[in-house]
Amino acid sequence: MKPAPFDYRRPETVAEAVAALAGEPNAKVLAGGQSLVPLLSMRLAAPAMLVDINAIPGLDTIAVESDDRDGGVRVGALARHSAVLASDDVRRVQPLVTMALSHVAHATIRNRGTTVGSLVHADAAAEMPVVLTLLGGSVDVEGPGGRRTIPASELYVGPLESSVGHDEVAVSAYFPGLAPGAGVAFEEIARRHGDYALVGAAALVDGETVRVGYLSVSDVPAVVDLTGVADADLGEAALAQLEPLDDIHATADYRAQLVRVLTGRVVRSARQHAQREGAQ
């Protein structure tokens, strides 16, 4: 299992990375590579060029943006999952990011894999795209036309497909902060610890508003609004807005059952989180 040959660039600035991408339409950006390298090794992908952004300084930042909108946290393209998971700022400003990251693969993979890389890899079975979508976050990309912000609602267009252009490099992601009195929770069911989940769910409860995002249910991250739904009906109300997929890992019926179970559980848990936060 060896990757096919590719040209390799190791730019030292974002501008150089953008220039390299502009010269080769079949290029891929390499950040942590924890999803990309297996795809190359199995020859499911064979880009003509890899643009390795690991030598670009200043992209590994994790910064609270207190004056920006809702006071969230901005994560740079080279911030490893492990650094984001360990960040007290992230835990304080948006605990859902921390909760979800603890379910991303294993510690060894998190040491190399990047949160922004996971977001733009756009795997609907992954945790972080759902978190970004549920929270209404965004990804900043830089391309030949300069920098632009892609809201999460416009980022995911299909299975493993994002709206980041082939000539653009994702430089950071923004996770909005948790509003005072709001609560979040994350739950997933996987066959083995650290595996991709059969189904996972993230909940955001803010006053009367209840929203839940699902991974591994559809081929893009799915978020449903469950505001005003009685507790006993949460699972069925969610399923009315979802079409669980069939694949080799689980039948659609089994996924539907997991949605029923996880929806009630994760909403309850988010309400408890809101109460604990409110009590402090």
């Binding site: 060896k2 040959p5 590719f6 390799y8 924890q34 190359l40 390795d52 294993h106 060894t108």
Partner: protein, 161 residues
């Protein structure tokens, strides 16, 4: 067509090496083929089994999920670097021997590197933390119980050193 080669400087177990590799050379293959350090084992080659785990700048990393060219300037520790200065078994290796933490030995290098870093960050793990420390590594022989015992024993050996 001859592939372009890239000059690469890495420090492995304290020794600096200059090698020329094609960009597609996995770090696991560079260690084994270019540097002759065959202690790093290659199992699944897609990041699942953990046999190829090495320490890159101290952090456990899958060598099969990195290209060697990405390791430019990195400080790498492989299983060959885990022995004591006098060549005797390091504490984690010693604990594996004492607790029968291996049978065929194929997965062992990945466990040893992972646990070495794990105990550096958490020298006195609880039983649950010891289990969690090895959750990303597969072993098909032992059933894991003796590996978890070895984690706890290694912590003991280090505490008494």
């Amino acid at each position: 067509m001859s592939e372009e080669l890239h000059d690469l400087r890495v420090t492995v177990n304290g020794a600096t090496h200059d090698i020329r590799v094609p960009a597609r050379r996995l770090l696991s293959d560079a260690l084994r083929h270019d540097l002759g350090l065959t202690g790093t084992h290659v199992g699944c080659e897609h990041g699942v089994c953990g046999a190829c785990t090495i320490l890159v700048d101290g952090a456990p990393t899958r060598a099969c999920l990195m290209f060697a060219v990405s390791a430019q300037g990195a400080e790498i520790t492989t299983v060959e670097g885990l022995t004591n200065a006098d060549g005797s078994l390091g504490p984690v290796q010693q604990a594996f021997a004492e607790c029968h933490g291996l049978q065929c030995g194929f997965c062992t290098p990945g466990f040893l590197t992972t646990i070495t870093a794990g105990l550096r960050d958490n020298p006195r793990p609880t039983h649950e933390e010891a289990r969690d420390m090895v959750a990303g590594n597969l072993c098909r022989c032992t059933g894991y119980q003796n590996i978890v015992k070895a984690v706890e024993r290694a912590a003991e050996i280090q505490a008494n050193a």
